[in-house]
Each structure stands twice: as C-alpha cells, then as structure tokens.
Symmetry: C2
Subunit: 348 residues, 2 copies
Amino acid sequence: MILKREHFDEKQAQLYDVIIAGGGAGGLSAAVYLARYNLKVLVIEKGRGRSFWMQDLWNYVPRVVSGKELIEGGKEMALHYGADWLNGFVEAVTDTGEEFQVRVKYRFKNSDYPVFRAKYLIAATGLMDVLPQLENMQNVYEYAGYNLHVCLICDGYEMTNRRAALIAGSEKAINTAFVLNWFTPYITVLTLGAYPVGDEMRAKLADHGYPLIEKPIARFLGKDHVMDGIEFADGTSIKVDTGLISMGSIRHDGYLKNLDLLTDGGDIVTEYDCRTSHPRVFALGDLKKGLNQVSIAVADGTLAATAIWKEIRRASAPRKWTAPLQEAAARAEESARPEISLGAPRGG
Amino acid sequence: MILKREHFDEKQAQLYDVIIAGGGAGGLSAAVYLARYNLKVLVIEKGRGRSFWMQDLWNYVPRVVSGKELIEGGKEMALHYGADWLNGFVEAVTDTGEEFQVRVKYRFKNSDYPVFRAKYLIAATGLMDVLPQLENMQNVYEYAGYNLHVCLICDGYEMTNRRAALIAGSEKAINTAFVLNWFTPYITVLTLGAYPVGDEMRAKLADHGYPLIEKPIARFLGKDHVMDGIEFADGTSIKVDTGLISMGSIRHDGYLKNLDLLTDGGDIVTEYDCRTSHPRVFALGDLKKGLNQVSIAVADGTLAATAIWKEIRRASAPRKWTAPLQEAAARAEESARPEISLGAPRGG
Ligand SMILES: Cc1cc2nc3c(=O)[nH]c(=O)nc-3n(C[C@H](O)[C@H](O)[C@H](O)COP(=O)(O)OP(=O)(O)OC[C@H]3O[C@@H](n4cnc5c(N)ncnc54)[C@H](O)[C@@H]3O)c2cc1C
Ligand SMILES: Cc1cc2nc3c(=O)[nH]c(=O)nc-3n(C[C@H](O)[C@H](O)[C@H](O)COP(=O)(O)OP(=O)(O)OC[C@H]3O[C@@H](n4cnc5c(N)ncnc54)[C@H](O)[C@@H]3O)c2cc1C
C-alpha cells in the first residue's frame, strides 16, 4: 500500500524485512521479488530519478518502453504483491547492529521525518548525469535524453554516422570520442572552454580529424526535442544531428555515508549477488560498479532479493503441517475447494 | 532478416561477428544489444524452448507477460535492428581457432545442413524441465506450467498456503519440500514409486507432517488448466490446489560437447561477463551456473554482448573523419539536413 501520514505510527512500530531506498529499475525489481517471497518490504522513492528521464528504453526485451512506463508498471506490480511504498527522500541510515533505522523526509513543505526500521537495506538510488549548466536550463532539458544523449551504450546506435557533438566535462572525458567513433566519425568535441586541453590530446584529435571547440555554449538549436545545432557565446554556431554529454554523474549516496561501504572510483563494490562490504546492505544498478543499464539493475534486484530471502528463510523455524493444521485442512476440504485461506502467509 | 534456403549461400560465405545459439530470453537480449552495436549477428532458434512454455512471467518489471510475448517481442526488436534469424537446430560447433563453424539442421523433413561461421559464439540454449512420464502426456501438458509449477522461485508465491503436491524425481529432490514450506506447510510428497526413500528422510517428513505417497500417478485431475487433484495407479486420489515438479532438467548443450567448457554440476561456469573457460564462447541464462530467471538471462545478454563489442572494437582500426569525409559532410550540409547517409555503418 502507499503510505500516508496516517500510517506512519503503525509502520514505524513494525520491523520490515527489507527497506529499499529508490524505486527505479533495480529497486522495483527487488520489491517485486521480495513481495513475492512474502517478505515485508518498503520502497522509498523521491521521484524524478534517472529512469524517469529516460525517454525510450531501446534495448530491454521484449519491447521499447519509456522510463515512466517502466516505473509505473513496476510500482503497480510491487503494490499488487503487497509491498509498501512511500513517496519520500531517504536522508540518513543508522545501523544499530540489529536493524537499520532509515530516516525519511516526507513532503517538501510541512515536512515530517519518520524513521522506518528493517533487517536489510537495499541501496538502489542510482545517479544523475551532469548536464551543461546554461543560463536557460529549459533549453537543455528540451533536448537532453532525446537526441542529446547521456549514455553511449544505450544510444550509440541512434548516433550511427550522424554529425555528433561530444560535450566533454574534462580532458579525460574527451576520450569518449574514441569509443563514440565506433558509431560515427563525424565528431566535434566541445569543452565549453571550461578546462585546458593538453598538446597530446590536441594532436590525437587532429589526427582523427575531430574538430575541438573551446567556447562556452549559449544554447542548443532545434525544436520539438530535436536538436540540430549549437550556438556558442561568441555568436557562431555549428550544425549537428545529435550529441553526447559526457560530463560525469552525481551518485545518490548521501544517506550511505556513515555505513562506510567499500567503493572503487566512487562505485559501490559488491559480490555477484549485490551484497556490499556490509553483510546486510545490498547495492543495485547504477550505484554499484558495472554497466549502467536497466537490464543489469533489474537482474540485480532479482539477485539481492533472492539472497536476502535465502538468509531470512534459513534463520526461520520451518513451517510444519501440524495436527491442528491437518484438521483445519480436512475441515476445509469437507466444504468447498479452499482458496488461499488455510492460514496467514508467512513473512516478517 | 529471417534466413530462408535462398539466403544460405550468401550467408555461409560471410563471417558473422557473433552466432547466438538459442533465441530465448538471454539470446534475444544479446541479439538486440549486438545489433545495436552494429555488429553482424545471427540467432539460431529451434522453437518451443523453455520460455515458450512459460505461461506468465510474474516477476519481470514492468509488467506480467507470457513467454510467447517475450519471444515474439524480443525477436521483432532484434530483427528491427538488423540481426539475422534462422529457424533451425544447432547440431554441432567446431572451433578452427580463427572462427566457429556452426552446423545447423534446417527443416525437420527434407533437411538442409548449412554451416555458418562467426568470430564469437553465444550459447543461450537453456534447458528443459523433466516432467512425469504418464501414458497420456497430454494430461501432463494440460497442467504443467499452469498451476502445476516447475520453478519454486518463480511460482512459490502462487502456492502460498495452498495444498501442494511435490513431485520429486529423486530422494535428494524431496529436500525441495523444506524450501517450498516457506510458502505453504500443506505439502504432500510424491515419489511416483520410482525410487526408495531412506529412513532419515522418512523421519524428517513425518516430523514436518508432510505425507509421503510412493505410488505411480495415473493422471492429474481438473479442467481448463486448473489441476485440483491427482489420481494414482491403484485408483486412489488426493485433492490438491497446486503442485511443484522437481525432477531435474535436461540441458540443451549437445552441440557444445567438443569445446570442453568448464562446468560445475553440469552448469557452465562463467566470469561475471558470461565468458566461459573458452575466451570466445559466452554462456547465458539457464545454461550457466546461477539463478534460472528471465531477468538474469536478459542481463547476461547485455553483459556478453557488451564484452564482445568491446573486444571487437579494440581490435579494429579507429574511424577517422578524413578529408574526403569532411568534404562529403560539407557537400551534404549544402543540400538538406543529412539523415543517416554519410557512410555505411561500421560493423563486422
Ligand atoms: C536519457 C537516458 C536514457 C537512457 N537510456 C537507456 C537505455 O536505452 N537502456 C538502458 O538499459 N538504460 C538506459 N539508461 C540508463 C538507465 O536509466 C539506468 O541504468 C537505470 O535506470 C538504473 O537503474 P537504477 O535502479 O540503478 O537507478 P534509477 O532507475 O535511477 O532509480 C533510482 C531511484 O532512486 C530514487 N532516489 C535517488 N535518491 C533517493 C533518495 N535519497 N531517497 C529516495 N529515493 C531516491 C530516484 O528518484 C530514482 O527513481 C538511460 C538513462 C538516461 C538518463
Ligand atoms: C512454466 C515455467 C514458468 C516460468 N516462470 C518464470 C517466471 O515467472 N519468472 C522467471 O524469471 N522465469 C520463469 N521461468 C524460467 C525462465 O523461463 C527461464 O529462466 C528463462 O527462459 C531462461 O532464459 P534462457 O535464454 O537461458 O533460456 P530459454 O528462454 O529457454 O531459451 C533457450 C532457447 O534455445 C532454444 N534451443 C535449445 N536448444 C537449441 C538448439 N540446439 N538449437 C537451436 N535452438 C535451441 C530453445 O528453443 C529456447 O528458445 C519459467 C519457466 C517455466 C518452464
């Protein structure tokens, strides 16, 4: 169910099996699995995450969907199987050794700060791509995620043999040109004039025939979400058919700080089953080391949920078909075919 | 495109980047990714695999689909992005050191045996669950995959607190009862009288209150794909609401025999990116060690395709924006906005 203020007292008193921070691709998959394992699970989602901005998910069988469809559909499934859902922002997590206490900011104005408790924590809060900061950000949002891409693996195909602007956030990020050129050689590299470019990189770009433009961008040109050019601060412009932004990303991991998880270059390091260096914390999808793709985040949800279920199951007393239950079953049999009514589901 | 006899000569002459044996959940995901990396890929699918028999895929966000929808949708995507597709049975694979030669049986009658060639091989042929062998197999197919389940992780939830028959193919398989009891304690264990059960197992079942029936099954009772009882060879019967078949599975790996891949209990051992002990062979999904779930197979396709692309990309000369191409681009610019026409896509 979707939690509102009136549910907070009751829900803060109980111990969830798992709290999932982030209801994007990975968190939703974990929620569906955990709910289908009859575990008590709460998903906390702030809204407008990375998958929300994804216009078209091109490479996830069996069909192209938008990020919004992915989120709405996954949420519906999780709720259907009995997961709890809270629209809120995870601010901080404390590990008491026995349980996690997860502090949430609820509502932007007149905020509440409920604290929910769980045996396990799944960190599935992903990240956000850094975008060029123009005076008019609306102009950036008009094209980013459409034909001004942020993910080469996702959208390289759409750039095939097109004139592409590569907007690089650092000299190191310019190297993306030498992967993008698998798809297209018609690459113009833009630094926004934000950092110096060394001689070696200049020579390499010249050798490949990729022009380098080191001026601030004034605005993207085009209409109806189709960018077809870029205008610079000095009034000059170039025509392009597509673009790729390679300016890094900001991880949504503030609430994890005092858990001291092992990271590598900022990405959370996990086992195959997504367990972090903390035995009761799992990390999924973009937040962890590896490919940032929906299919990966979804499988991560499967793996983490199944590992947690296994552990909780093994720590629980087995359910026996005791004499009273045998009798209940016999009585039920005498009447009609019993539906799902022979006892409360396990869980928690 | 879908290959027919008339295409065989041309397609046997070329070297594919990748041949994918099996177009189920994992193979289709790999095909979509590889095609979107502009690589030359051929999928070979015999038809009626495991995902074909899956009635409802319950736990794959964003919505419940049937196995047939998964296959049809994924196939459409792969074809759309330029993958080749062959309806055929992979019989044998030979590694010449430079390439794989993949021998296919095409058509059941008046067969052809074309041999296609590729740099990389993806093994995505999955497995098939062993079913009880009754005289009238139609009676088994009527319920298997409906409420007579084959996968506890997939369908445990549907069995919650229901009277369940566990059809175990060996004494070891009876242990599934002690996982199934997470979902329901109303378990009756059936051996079909096919093997002896030791005293220790008998005592454990008795302690849990799970009856053991050691008689051959005559038939499943019920109608419209809803099983509601089981009749035994001696004419007695029991009422159940659901069932779980735990009789093992048969791997579709005959064609891999002479590649001597490393296995563990029959499952192919892989790295995180699905690479097997053979550096140019990748294995996905049910065929490899790990969870047998659609989400896992789909992510495996992503991982294998991306690893192969990286390797092929790094072994290729970089595409430069040479003077002639610069001029072509300038000319194109003079006329209309160039679409995807400045050169042939890379690949192969
Ligand atoms: C424009 C664009 C196009 C893309 N195209 C593709 C594509 O074609 N194919 C593909 O496979 N991938 C694509 N991706 C990448 C894909 O979106 C990510 O890999 C995927 O969403 C990762 O899943 P996740 O669960 O790790 O993170 P997300 O899906 O981003 O989910 C994280 C969730 O956590 C929430 N959150 C963050 N912080 C908090 C907090 N403190 N409290 C509560 N909630 C919080 C966010 O709102 C978000 O909903 C694309 C991405 C973008 C931006
Ligand atoms: C009844 C049932 C219900 C299930 N429910 C769920 C569920 O709810 N959720 C879930 O995640 N999973 C479920 N599964 C499991 C799921 O179907 C598998 O995990 C998944 O299909 C594995 O993908 P794969 O690509 O490895 O294999 P498959 O999808 O089985 O694909 C392998 C393909 O290879 C083909 N093939 C085999 N041999 C050859 C050959 N020699 N030449 C050419 N082609 C060949 C087969 O025809 C098949 O299409 C269910 C399975 C069954 C049977």
